[in-house]
């Protein structure tokens, strides 16, 4: 198999005819990923290079095509291009999505190395002809505080750090480029280990020491236990502006909002795919929290398992927020990791659909891209290749690079 080189996805200086023609690279795909992983361990830059799908030397596209000549319209068949104008259909929206800051540096009252801001949009997602995207979306990588069942495609990248949340967090930040880390405190679940709030604090402490990015604190799903755990963490890490994931309708909303406010954190307002419920929960939070302390999660369903609902729900929420509905004008978070709940992401299927080591992360990427175009600001994700792809694409979307129109014309006659 050919060696992977850094930057090999970049455009060559001169367009190459028929790269690899007739030489179908056919590595065992499992081997390919294993190899990617090896390289990544030797030298992460190389792996980044290979997965740096969207970064290329920018070739600025000058006016590729000469402006057509204007001719008077005639009743006979036209002999020349009948020039018309194109005016970009720019809408203006009265409202702006709230900006929320996650994490706090020393000067801001915390210990994080940097804080990140999400939200602030004034247009639908990446309608950059209407206005700029003020803050690129950010990615939080999942870290679990105990052994959980992971898809094989994910496990191979984190197998050395399973059971060591601090090491896992380091890997997520240093190697996989996480902007934030989500600490999933699964072990506090009364049905699992029923770990105490104090033990949860210890886990968070270890991670907060190991990495300097802002943290998302995830619970186990038990409304009573989560509230108790979050209260302890909020108090211990006062001023850090952790994102408390999450506050739900069946929790003691007042109590949660109060300890979040008092200790300087941010609430993730989570509702099960119903905008009226989202509004209702946000209204309850407004009694105790300023709008700048609320991010909302409207529920992400996996590709093939209700993604259409998630997409439309978020798209509607974002449009409503821009249109002036203050209760939906919050930045949105997506549990994109839910993509792995789809069996097609992890199941061994017939050979026609294999390898799952590629199908799985692609399932996560496609789920993420769909959420991206609905307006999601914060992604909670799992697979390093999916994270890398999403980050590269958002860089392209928020950058001011231009495509090479001259080159693209040639696709019709290019041998593959």
């Amino acid at each position: 198999m050919r060696k992977l080189r850094k930057g090999e996805c970049g455009l060559p200086e001169k367009p190459k005819e028929a790269p690899n023609l007739g030489l179908k690279l056919n590595p065992e795909l499992l081997e390919l990923l294993a190899k990617l992983q090896e390289i990544e361990l030797e030298d992460f830059e190389m792996e980044v290079g290979d997965l740096e799908i969207w970064l290329q030397p920018s070739t600025s596209a000058g006016p590729a095509i000469a402006p057509p000549k204007s001719v008077p319209p005639s009743k006979a068949k036209p002999k020349a291009i009948m020039e018309t104008n194109f005016v970009p259909p720019v809408e203006t929206f009265p409202n702006k999505i709230v900006e929320v800051k996650l994490g706090a540096t020393k000067s801001e009252g915390g210990t994080r190395g940097k804080s990140v801001i999400i939200g602030g949009e004034t247009t639908p997602a990446y309608y950059t002809f209407e206005g700029v995207t003020p803050h690129p979306p950010v990615v939080a990588l999942d870290v679990f505080d105990m052994e959980v069942s992971l898809a094989r495609a994910v496990k191979m990248h984190v197998k050395d750090v399973l059971g060591d949340p601090a090491a896992w967090a380091k890997l997520a930040v240093n190697k996989f480029g996480a902007d934030l880390v989500t600490v999933h405190l699964i072990s506090v679940d009364p049905l699992l280990k029923d770990a105490s709030p104090k033990e949860a604090v210890k886990t968070v402490e270890a991670i907060a020491q190991a990495v300097k990015v802002p943290l998302v604190i995830g619970g186990c799903g038990d409304p009573v236990k989560d509230a108790a755990v979050f209260a302890e963490i909020a108090k211990t890490f006062a001023g850090e502006r952790f994102l408390i994931s999450s506050v739900t309708r069946d929790m003691d909303v007042e109590k949660c909002a109060k300890f979040i406010r008092k200790n300087g954190h941010v609430a993730l307002s989570f509702t099960p795919m119903d905008l009226n419920l989202a509004r209702e929960l946000n209204r309850r939070l407004y009694d105790f929290l300023p709008k700048e302390d609320i991010v909302m999660d409207l529920t992400t369903a996996a590709l093939g398992y209700g993604l259409d609902y998630a997409f439309t729900n978020m798209e509607r929420a974002r449009l409503a927020g821009l249109m002036g509905d203050p209760e939906l004008a919050h930045p949105m978070s997506s549990g994109t990791t839910n993509a792995w709940a789809a069996r097609e992401a992890w199941l061994k299927m017939s050979p026609e659909w294999e390898p799952r080591e590629l199908r799985g992360p692609l399932w996560e990427v496609v789920t993420a891209l769909t959420m991206l175009l609905a307006g999601v600001d914060l992604f909670m994700m799992m697979h390093p290749a999916a994270v890398k792809t999403l980050k590269d694409i958002t860089k392209q979307l928020t950058g001011d690079g231009s495509g090479n129109a001259d080159k693209i014309v040639e696709w019709v006659s290019t041998r593959v």
């Binding site: 996805c9 970049g10 455009l11 179908k24 690279l25 290979d50 290329q56 095509i65 057509p68 036209p78 291009i81 009948m82 020039e83 018309t84 194109f86 970009p88 259909p89 809408e91 002809f129 049905l191 989570f270 099960p272 905008l275 529920t299 992400t300 398992y305 209700g306 259409d308 998630a310 439309t312 729900n313 798209e315 509607r316 409503a320 978070s333 990791t337 839910n338 792995w340 709940a341 069996r343 199941l347 659909w353 590629l358 199908r359 692609l362 990427v365 769909t370 175009l373 392209q396 001011d400 690079g401 495509g403 129109a405 080159k407 693209i408 040639e410 696709w411 019709v412 006659s413 290019t414």
Partner: protein, 493 residues
């Protein structure tokens, strides 16, 4: 939260939201506007009770004008024309191909799917070239024809073949088109910017109305002639230049080419942002601005990830191509041309297309109640799941393929999947106990053992208490049901 938080309810679009539509400038069509122009004689020839009912169905696009015989009479010609105009979609519907296997593209009424629904799912075309070996061409055509994936009771398929000329040799292209049409009825896209090559290709299949790719600023006149002569639809290609694109459309419409498809260029890398802008601006101009010149279907070409891949591995090109396909399916593409025929990279976009084109007006729930698989007897297992359609069909297909005899209780959770329903208290022990009673399953089996979904394990104690049935916690994924029944049920029984 967020992790494995699962799914989903069907009410996502039925909520009473502060009106977005009016503000966004969408013209809402009321049945009354339509009714006014109908004959109003309640003749029932269309099969509806009265003209108002027919008007409502017209607005919901469940019937067509042509199903009203009186309207087709000469004296109603004016009303027919007016109605045609009133019901005209913002994006023209274009039909490619002839006979049974035609593909309809476009026909979009709205910008956002929640405003109504998206019609005519993005057609997916696989490319072949006139320099591929005969064997490779045949393999790719066969793959395109036989690709199929079963998903919630539907078969997901590919739609078209794009024949490209990489040789720029008319004779070669003609021979390749010939070969392809001899082996498939799938509609074609003939691709070459050289009108002579395209004409040679057309001469091999003059009657099948393929889509022609493409008219540019340089060749538009010759392409227009071909499109008119062969009655074909024609792609207008002006990468990253919407002024030129619109001018070309203006010209071609004046020339008499009625069915156009727009290609503003597909880019990967630096051009992705502009690409999405172009697709979005065109659709916005058509749907919100009523711009007739841009009210045509859009074509995207994710396979530029291959033609501009430099030295990237095949797998990387496929990966990029799938990403482009996904973004274009979400952002308004009506046709896409892809190169990869591998299942792992095709499946995610194919499923995404199905998702985006589901009708948000229809719930994804199935009828609750007792379902029977195979021929169960009084000792057969009793299982339950929720009435979320996707859960139901997934479990049903697993049970069916394992040829298991069983009773299967579908509990009404308002269309929510198991884990979310448990979390959201839509699936409770009471509901399960009531469903057992109501189903009459107690008369059908001797035993009192209920297999519950692994993700509902939390409820097992309460279910036993309320129903009096013994609970066996089943697997978390239904693919393990056959194994579970073999190991656990038979031991128990």
């Amino acid at each position: 939260m967020g992790f494995n938080e699962g799914l989903v309810r069907e009410s996502a679009v039925s909520m009473s939201e502060r009106e977005i539509k009016g503000k966004l400038g969408m013209k809402e069509l009321s049945p009354l506007d339509v009714y006014k122009l109908l004959p109003k004689i309640n003749c029932k020839e269309c099969g509806e009770e009265n003209c108002m009912a027919f008007a409502t169905k017209l607005v919901n696009r469940e019937v067509t004008l042509e199903q009203c015989p009186p309207l087709l009479k000469k004296e109603n010609g004016k009303a027919y024309k007016q109605l045609k105009e009133l019901l005209k979609p913002a994006v023209k519907e274009v039909v490619v191909g002839t006979g049974e296997k035609t593909v309809k593209i476009g026909g979009k009424l709205v910008m956002y799917r929640h405003e109504f629904t998206y019609f005519n799912p993005t057609a997916i075309a696989i490319d072949v070239t006139d320099e591929m070996s005969e064997q490779e061409i045949m393999q790719r055509v066969k793959r395109t024809e036989t690709f199929s994936f079963e998903y919630i009771g539907q078969i997901l398929k590919l739609d078209m073949i794009a024949v490209r000329s990489t040789s720029n040799d008319p004779e070669k292209f003609k021979a390749t088109v010939q070969k392809v049409v001899e082996n498939t009825n799938l509609p074609l896209i003939l691709c070459s910017l050289n009108p002579k090559v395209l004409e040679a290709g057309l001469s091999a299949t003059p009657e099948t109305r393929p889509l022609l790719y493409a008219a540019t600023k340089d060749n538009w006149e010759d392409m227009a002639k071909l499109a008119v002569m062969y009655g074909c639809s024609l792609v207008v290609f002006a990468p990253n230049d919407l002024k030129l694109l619109r001018s070309l459309v203006n010209t071609l419409v004046a020339y008499g080419v009625e069915d156009l498809v727009l290609d503003p260029g597909t880019f990967w890398g630096d051009g992705v942002g502009e690409m999405l802008n172009n697709f979005t601006m065109i659709r916005l101009a058509a749907c919100k601005g009523g711009d007739g010149l841009l009210g045509f279907p859009l074509i995207g070409v994710p396979m530029v990830a291959w033609t501009n891949r430099g030295e990237a591995l095949d797998e990387i090109a496929e990966w990029r191509e799938a990403c482009l396909a996904a973004m274009l399916i979400v952002r308004f593409a009506d046709i896409i041309i892809v190169h990869s025929v591998d299942g792992w990279s095709l499946l995610p976009p194919v499923v995404l297309r199905q998702n985006i084109y589901t009708d948000p007006r229809k719930p994804v729930a199935v009828e609750p109640g007792l379902k029977v698989f195979g021929s169960p007897d009084e000792n057969s297992p009793v299982m339950f799941t929720t009435n979320f359609a996707l859960t139901y069909y997934t479990v049903a297909s697993d049970i069916e393929s394992a040829k298991v005899n069983a009773y299967f209780l579908v509990v009404d959770t308002e269309g929510i999947a198991v884990d979310s329903a448990v979390a959201g208290r839509k699936l409770t022990a009471e509901k399960v106990a009531d469903a057992i009673k109501a189903s009459g399953v107690e008369k059908k089996v001797k035993h009192r053992k209920l297999v519950i979904p692994g993700k509902a394990a939390r409820l097992s104690g309460e279910i036993e208490e309320l129903s009096g049935w013994q609970v066996l916690v089943g697997p978390k994924d239904s693919s393990d049901i056959p194994k579970f029944l073999q190991e656990k049920w038979q031991k128990q029984a």
